[in-house]
Amino acid sequence: MYVFSVALRHLRTRSITWVAGALIALVVTLYLLIISVLEGSKEHWMDKLQSIMAHASVSVGELAGGIQRPEPWADELAKVDPGIRGVTIGLESPAMAIFDSARTVGTLRGIDLQRELKYGRLKEIMTPHDLTEFGFHEAGNLKLPGCIVGGAWRRSYNLKIGERVTFLFSDEEGEARSRAFYIIGFFEGKNPYLETAAYVDRQNLAELIGVKGQAKTLYLWLTEPNRPDLKELKEKVREKMVAIVHRDIPEYHHENAVIVDTWQDKDNKFYQAITTENMMMRIIMCVFLGLLAFVMYLIFGRLVAEKVRDVGVLRAMGATPAGIRSCFLVQALFIGGLGLLVGFVGSYVLISNLNGIVEFLAVTAHIDLFPGEAFGHERVMTRTLGFDIGIIAAATMISAFLGALIPALQASRMNPVECLRHE
């Protein structure tokens, strides 16, 4: 009982212990704030990368004629793993887009709109949201197939729904072809590069290009794109696709013709850079916590030196060495816990109001804490992971404990007679 009384009473009367608590709160707040901003930024970038592109793509070499039986193969691949939300079918061709006033290069993407709306993310990024088919539309005396155009073109050429766009492309024989489309909608891909494209009906495009198969790529959409076993899933999908090709095109046995790419493969360097940056920051912050343990050691060393006589008196009254040790350790853990709590509250308040604070600083002090060009987005994105809360909580308590351990051991090993004679 006295352990808690002594520990907490020391805490109340020794301002130096509050310094330790305040330092812990500061480090916890900084850790959660910085890591949350970095994770928020990472999530935003991932969102950009995954906004249009599927989480994995499967293609079969041209010698085998590409994806010859798109629908059944897509349905079979969807059953490979319960984490596959669905499989969409794609046919892509580089093209030149010709508008009334300008021309530009980009990509024509043939898709099955129904599948795309069911499994992909097109519905989230498309306006109007209720489009269900490309159809054919009256344009003067012509009936033109519908297309959904990327936001980058819409912004650059001030395009509107109902306008015409003509695409110039080459077919499988290398012959130049052109086709006019009717703009029925737009999509915002978040990534300007991916927005220089237009979606059209896949079968329509297949006829125009004259491909042997009706698709070139199958796109896998996952329930959890960041799943840790993405590489294993990739291998499972590849094995399944090889088996399908072997079964359905027995004359074609070349395993390497099946290529599976995950979103991590495509953007691996960028993804790894962001992940490494975030991990490095975690390590740096944990080093700060290590320094905090050293500060705790200094503070508790001083506290023990101040309390030599009290240790002697407590021992004279019957306190055991373990009891003395516990007095200081409980005190350290209490400081750690209190600092942690204040840090959690502080970081929550800061993170919740971060954009307001950033704007306030920008307006009043002309300090741009989060330049949009550097972070790739205008508002500060944050994401606090349970992992980080767990890490900081454990590291703080361990630091507080370890910092106080040596002084506490020294206090418990003091000779009570020498303590009572201490001047």
Binding site: M1, Y2, S5, V6, R9, H10, R12, T13, R309, D310, G312, V313, L314, R315, A316, M317, G318, A319, T320, P321, A322, G323, N415, P416, V417, L420, R421
Partner: protein, 255 residues
């Protein structure tokens, strides 16, 4: 100085109830206790075979020059230190060479200390200082269930030392005499069989010193506590029933 392997449970059995011994029965005894310190290759003998006994209800003073070994003997009797040779018995139970925890256990239940410099904990108020030995001796559960009794007892002790109105004050706001009375009340909370006082009046004016000694003598008589007072003050030593004189680590007279 080998530590005994006696368990706390055995010691607890030996410690028995508080003040359940008859007056004049021996509550603490030493048998040829020696204490020496090794300093490099030199051995310094501080106590050279001390045999004494303290009886219930008796006040004994221990006098001698500075460096004669009085405080060392007091610390040994209080089980704060272990003898180099010999044994210390509390109620006939060998206690001097027990391990740290067992000695702490015996100390908390049998021995009260009053120091020259009071040694009150500055962060605690008067009442909390007095309650500390109870908190140390009892576990959390026992303390929670018996807390009210101990607070009542602490209040009684505060009345006894005439400090009831000072219960919520911090030690820093008290005079030397008041602090020593608080220290005395603290030492008596658990009704120890033995009260060891190290120069209890050393920092007090004669009038306050006399008042403190009145309290100690009265308590010894009333409660049957064996009291040992280390002192340089002749007025104090001559009031005791027995006077032990220590010179160069040897007990010279016992009268």
């Amino acid at each position: 100085m080998s530590n005994s392997t006696k368990t706390v449970e055995q010691v607890e059995t030996a410690s028995g109830g508080r003040n359940d011994v008859g007056k004049n029965s021996v509550v603490l005894r030493t048998d040829s206790v020696k204490r020496f310190f090794i300093d490099g290759e030199e051995r310094r003998d501080v106590l050279k075979g001390i045999s004494l006994s303290l009886r219930a209800g008796e006040v004994t003073s221990l006098v001698g020059r500075s460096g004669s070994g009085k405080s060392t003997l007091l610390h040994l009797l209080g089980l704060l230190d272990t003898p180099s040779e010999g044994e210390i018995f509390i109620d006939d139970t060998p206690a001097g060479n027990l391990n740290e925890n067992s000695r702490a256990f015996l100390r908390s239940r049998n021995i009260g200390f009053v120091f020259q410099h009071y040694f009150l904990l500055p962060e605690f108020n008067v009442l909390e200082n007095i309650l500390l030995p109870g908190k140390i001796a009892l576990g959390v559960q026992a303390w929670m269930s018996q807390q009210a009794q101990y607070i009542e007892r602490a209040q009684e002790l505060l009345s006894l030392v005439d400090l009831k109105s000072h219960a919520k004050q911090r030690p820093a706001t008290l005079s030397g005499g008041e602090r020593q009375r608080v220290a005395l009340a603290r030492a008596l909370l658990l009704e120890p069989k033995i009260l060891l006082c190290d120069e209890p009046t050393g920092n007090l004016d004669p009038e306050t010193a006399r008042h403190i000694m009145d309290l100690i003598f009265g308590l010894s008589q009333k409660r049957g506590t064996a009291v040992l007072i280390v002192t340089h003050d002749r007025n104090v030593s001559e009031r005791a029933q027995r006077i032990l004189r220590l010179e160069h680590g040897v007990l010279i007279t016992d009268k």
